[in-house]
C-alpha cells in the first residue's frame, strides 16, 4: 500500500471512528472519556474491564458499540454456579423430547462475534475465568470436535466491586489479560443527571440503542486496520525513553521521587506493569495519536490511557490492597506528574 492510499485509509477510518463516538454520545450522556477509551480499545484490539456501579448504562453502552461496529453481540451473566461449559454450549430438550446440545453464547455467532460482554465476571468461578482468559488470548476454542475461531471478538467484562459475598477476585495474571479497566461513573453534570431521569427516551434501553447508526465500522476489518495504525504511528527516541521511565516508575516509584501521602512508597508496589501491559500501553497510545490526527506519539497520548491500562495491573503490598482503587489512581497520577520528559538520559 502506498503512502497516499495509506493516508486516505487512515483518514477515512478516523472519520468513521469519530462518527461512532458521536453516535454513541447521542444515546449515552456524560461518558465522553469512557467512550473515547472504548473506541481506543476497539482499534487497539484490547479487551476491557468495566468498573462501575449498577445501572450506570454499561450494557446500553456496549450494545451501542456493538451496533456501531457491526458483528454479533453476546452476553453472559457471571454467577457462582456458572461453569465453563455454560459458555461453550447449552443443553435442552427439543420439541421432540430429545436432549439437544447447541453452541453457547461464545460460539453461537462464530467468527461474526465482535463484542462479548461478561457481566459480573467476578461472580463466576476461577474455572470460568480460566476458559475466558484463554479464549481472550488465543481467540479460538475447541468444541464439538472442531476449532471455533473468534478473530474479531473483543471481551468487555464488568466487575462487581460493591459486593464481596459469592465473588471470586480476579488474580493479577488474569487482570493483565485485559488491556484496560475503564471506569463508568454516574455523570457529574447536573444537566446530564436531569436528562437521565426525566428524558423519557432513556427509559427504553433497546429503543435507545436502535438510534445508533449500525455498521459504521466493518468489524471484520478492524484487526487489519489496527495493524495499519500501529505501523503508521511513529515514536521518537525521547518518547521511547519516556515510556521506559514510566515503566520503571511503576516498579520502583520511589526512584523517580513519586510520593503519596500516608503511604510508604518504597513498600507500596509489589509488582509493576508487565511487558505485555507496557506493550498494550503503547498500542493504545498510538491509537490515541491517530484519533487526534497525528502520526507521531506525544506524551499526552500515553497520559490519555495510562491510568486505565496500568492501574489494574499493579500488585500492591497486601497492607495497602484494601485501598487499591484509590491508591492506584493516585499513584498513576503522581507518576505522570513526576516522571519528566525529556529525561536526563
Amino acid at each position: 500500500m502506498n503512502t497516499v492510499s495509506n493516508d486516505i485509509e487512515l483518514a477515512d477510518w478516523r472519520t468513521k471512528a469519530l462518527k461512532l463516538e458521536s453516535e454513541i454520545e447521542k444515546v449515552i450522556v456524560g461518558q465522553t472519556r469512557a467512550i473515547r477509551l472504548m473506541t481506543t480499545a476497539i482499534f487497539a484490539r484490547g479487551h476491557v474491564l468495566l468498573e462501575g456501579g449498577v445501572g450506570v448504562g454499561k450494557t446500553t453502552l456496549l450494545q451501542s458499540i456493538a451496533r456501531g461496529i457491526g458483528g454479533a453481540y453476546e452476553r453472559i451473566e457471571g454467577t457462582v454456579d456458572l461453569m465453563p461449559n455454560d459458555i461453550v454450549y447449552h443443553t435442552y430438550l427439543n420439541s421432540e423430547g430429545r436432549p439437544q446440545i447447541d453452541e453457547g453464547p461464545l460460539l453461537r455467532a462464530g467468527e461474526n462475534l465482535s463484542v462479548f460482554f461478561f457481566n459480573e465476571i467476578n461472580r463466576a468461578r476461577p474455572q470460568v475465568h480460566a476458559l475466558m482468559l484463554r479464549v481472550m488470548a488465543e481467540k479460538h476454542v475447541h468444541a464439538f470436535k472442531k476449532d471455533y475461531r473468534l478473530p474479531h471478538m473483543v471481551v468487555f467484562a464488568d466487575r462487581n466491586q460493591v459486593e464481596k459475598n459469592e465473588t471470586f477476585e480476579i488474580p493479577s495474571a488474569a487482570r493483565d489479560r485485559f488491556m484496560m479497566e475503564i471506569p463508568i461513573v454516574i455523570p457529574a453534570s447536573r444537566e446530564h443527571r436531569k436528562s437521565l431521569i426525566f428524558d423519557t427516551r432513556f427509559q427504553h434501553a433497546e429503543a435507545l440503542t436502535q438510534q445508533v447508526e449500525d455498521h459504521i465500522l466493518q468489524f471484520d476489518q478492524l484487526n487489519q486496520f489496527s495493524n495499519t495504525i500501529q505501523h503508521h504511528i511513529q515514536s521518537s527516541p525521547v518518547m521511547e525513553e519516556y515510556a521506559l521511565d514510566l515503566w520503571e516508575s511503576t516498579q520502583d516509584p520511589a526512584k523517580f521521587g513519586v510520593r503519596l501521602e500516608g503511604v510508604e512508597i518504597s513498600r507500596l508496589v509489589q509488582s509493576g506493569a508487565s511487558p505485555r501491559g507496557m506493550g498494550m500501553l503503547m498500542k493504545a497510545a498510538r491509537v490515541n495519536a491517530w484519533l487526534n490526527g497525528r502520526d507521531s506519539l506525544l506524551p499526552e497520548d500515553i497520559h490519555a490511557v495510562f491510568h486505565e491500562i496500568i492501574a489494574h495491573r499493579l500488585v500492591f503490598n497486601p497492607m495497602y490492597d484494601s485501598k487499591r482503587t484509590a491508591l492506584a489512581r493516585e499513584l498513576t497520577a503522581q507518576i505522570i506528574n513526576t516522571v519528566v520528559v525529556p529525561g536526563r538520559h
Binding site: 511513529q234 521518537s236 507521531s296 506525544l298 506524551p299 513526576t338 519528566v340 529525561g343
Partner: protein, 304 residues
Amino acid sequence: MMKNMMLLIGGLIAVLGYFPAASAADEQPGLQIINPAKSYGIQVGDTLSRRIVLDLPAGSTIAKAGVPLKGSKAEGIELVGVEVSESDSGNGRQYSLRLDYQVFASSAKPVVMRLPQASLKMSAQDGQESVLTIPQWPFWFSPLVVSSSGKAGINMQAQFRPPAVEVAKLHAWLGVCVCLVVSGLLALIYINADKKWLPFMGGAFAHAHRRIKRLKATPGSTKEAFYHMHAAFNQWYGGNCFAQDIDSFVQQNPRFGKSREDIARFFTSSNEQLFFGQAKDASEVIKELKQLSKQFRNCERGVA
C-alpha cells in the same frame, strides 16, 4: 695673694649661697653655670649637658685630677663626658668645663631627679688648694610609659625611618583582587540566591537561561536545552507541564500571561523537535531557546 684667695672663696660662697637658682649663679662674676635648657620631659637615655665657665686669677689653675671623673654615677645618672678647655681672660685664665650626663635611672611615674653635685679642685699660685662645689640640678624625669616601664620595649620606636616599600603596584593588584572577590560574591549570590530573600534572582528560568547560554550547538545539546526549559516550566507548575496545561499554567502564574503565545510556541517547537522528528538546525534551536528562556526569565522577575 691672700687677698685674691679670699676674693675667690668669697665669690664661690656667694655662688653656692645663691644656688639652686642657676640663673642667678650665671650672673655671678667669675662663675657661670649653663644648665640644660629644658628641665622636664627627660627620659631614660637622654643626655644632659652642663657647662661651667670659670674665670680664675692669674696663677690659679684647675688640676686635672680636680674635675669630676668620667664614668662616675650617682642615682642612676652617669657622667659620660668631661671636656675642659681654657683660654686667657684679661689678667687671668678662663676655664670652660662641659659635663655630659646620661640618664640611666628609670621610674614608672614622673619624678624629680637631679644631676649630681660636682666638685672642682683649684690650686692658687701659692699652692693652696680650694674646692668649688657645683650644685645639683633638679629636673623632671618623664617615664616612657605611664604605668609600667616593662612596656617601654613595646613602645620603642626605631630611631631611623625604615625605607618605604613601593606600594603602587600592590595597590593595583589589590584593586584587581577586590574586583574579583566582589564580582565572585555577586555571582555566587546570583546563582545561589534563594527566591525567598532575593525574589528577582535564582529563578527556574534564570537557571535554565544560564545553562542554555553555555550550550554549544550540537544535535545532542538541543535535547538538553529543551530539558532545562521543561524543568523550569515543571518547577513553576509544581509538576509536569505539557502543552495541554498551558492555560492552567498561565492561570496559576499570571506573571507569564503576557508570554502565553510564546509559551505555546515553545511547546510546539518542543513537540516538533523531540517527538515529531522535525529536527531543525541545532544552532537555530539553541538561539531560539536562548531568546525564549531570557524572555521567560524576565517574566519570572516581573520585568517583562
